[in-house]
């Protein structure tokens, strides 16, 4: 996987977008669309839907570029946040409408139990990564670390995680709450 181009000027692209320069949007697209699509697809779990999310994200980037405030965070972070939150909004909104057939449910349950037995093992290849967040994640118990990663990367809700791990909902909520406090203390 290629790393973000260090000299790619995300801020300049957003300023140009706010001036109405379409080439800047195209540049951002060339630079990040594959990564953004990857992020959206993990959350909405469907390729066509993920493309819809990335489409909407780029329209939002285009129309809202002028509201980007560098005092609040990086320009690259902003376009990822825009995309992730569109995907999360979609997934949480549609969660209420999803009807899982009985057969699927059984299959999901079997899968969940299988995965639960493995969940003291890491579900994510995070060790090869460098960065403060990974050092801090390492200090969490594997099962709690998996909760955080499944939530952030896979867009799992508390109850998704509870089902996946076969752990009571209240326990999952408490784990996540405490893990977030620990991460904040660790990262500052």
């Amino acid at each position: 996987m290629s790393l973000p181009e260090p000299f790619f000027d995300y801020e300049a692209c957003l300023i140009a977008c706010s001036r109405g320069e379409q080439q800047a949007l195209r540049d951002l697209y060339e630079q990040e669309s594959a990564r953004l699509l990857g992020v959206a697809k993990r959350i909405v779990r469907d390729e066509a839907l993920a493309e819809d999310i990335v489409h909407d994200a780029f329209i939002k980037i285009w129309t809202r570029a002028g509201s980007f405030d560098p005092a609040r965070g990086s320009a690259r972070g902003w376009i990822f946040s825009v995309t992730r939150h569109l995907a999360l909004n979609f997934r949480r909104d549609s969660a209420r409408e999803v009807h899982v057939s009985e057969q699927q449910e059984t299959a999901l349950h079997d899968l969940a139990s299988l995965e639960a037995s493995q969940d003291s093992v890491d579900s994510f290849d995070y060790r090869s990564r460098s960065g403060r967040i990974y050092k801090c994640l390492e200090q969490l118990e594997p099962v709690r670390r998996n909760c955080i990663l499944h939530a952030y990367v896979d867009g799992y809700s508390h109850s998704d995680i509870s089902q996946k791990l076969g752990t009571p909902l209240g326990t999952v909520k408490a784990w996540i709450k405490r893990s977030l406090v620990a991460l904040r203390e660790c990262m500052g």
Binding site: L25, R35, T63
Partner: protein, 243 residues
């Protein structure tokens, strides 16, 4: 451990912000947070900080090349929006100068000036240079003319030195400000007379950082009434770390 109500509410905001960014809130809770972000600056700051903390985890999702159709769809939607989109962001409220990107771009040359000035200072001064020092050249935003130099040979005290005598209207004063990248807004370092050299202890501020902003604005004789810069910028620059 007992917590004051303030700590308690700040912990609650942190928890809410953390779960919002993590993604575990329900649809209703998400809508509620998104509505509050417009006005609630504490919640917004907490969300921003969580976004930055967790952003690297996006790399755990494998990138996926979009179909060729996706860009075409985006392009078509943008064209459809074109007549009204980009201009409408111009707001009625003036944008705070420290958020003006164009200003920072305009200042790119100041780094070069800093390098040149430092070089000449090193040649003309035999005084020892401590391991970490910072230099800032404050330039006029309109024409990039250097007007002041800030020198910090340690992170606890800085010197503001004039390169000339700035012109200041008699009913106005120059006020000196600084802001590091992570700070919410600039902090006043006091009033300065044109041509005056000032030594300023920074003991109430965090240590200096690379890229930290310094600037002089034109304010009322007793300084800005709001505690934040209100008048036009006269000189501005960012700290460059020198070895």
């Amino acid at each position: 451990m007992t917590l004051s109500p303030e700590d308690d509410s700040s912990d609650k905001i942190q928890a809410l912000a953390g779960e919002y960014v993590l993604g575990t809130l329900s649809a209703e809770q998400r809508i509620d947070v998104q509505k509050r972000l417009g006005q609630d600056t504490e919640l917004r700051a907490a969300v921003d900080a969580w976004e930055q903390r967790l952003l690297p985890l996006t790399e755990l999702a494998e990138p996926q090349t979009p179909t060729a159709l996706l860009w075409k769809r985006i392009e078509r939607s943008v064209k459809f929006l074109e007549p009204r989109a980009p201009k409408e962001v111009a707001s009625e409220q003036p944008i705070a100068w420290w958020n003006l990107l164009s200003l920072w771009r305009g200042l790119a040359g100041a780094g070069l000036i800093a390098t040149l000035l430092l070089g000449s200072m090193l040649l003309t001064q035999t005084a020892q240079v401590s391991p970490t020092s910072y230099l800032v050249v404050l330039v006029a935003p309109q024409n990039q003319a250097p007007g002041w130099v800030v020198q910090a040979s340690n992170t606890r005290e800085i010197q503001l030195m004039p390169l000339g005598v700035a012109q200041v209207p008699t009913d106005k004063a120059l006020q000196f400000w600084t802001k590091a990248d992570g700070w919410q807004s600039p902090v006043s370092l006091g009033l300065v007379k044109p041509g005056q050299t000032l030594s300023i202890p920074l003991d109430k501020l965090p240590p200096l950082e690379p890229n930290q902003l310094f600037e002089l604005t034109l304010e009322n004789p007793n300084g800005s009434p709001t505690g934040k810069p209100t008048g036009p910028i006269q000189f501005i620059g960012r700290a460059v770390k020198v070895i």
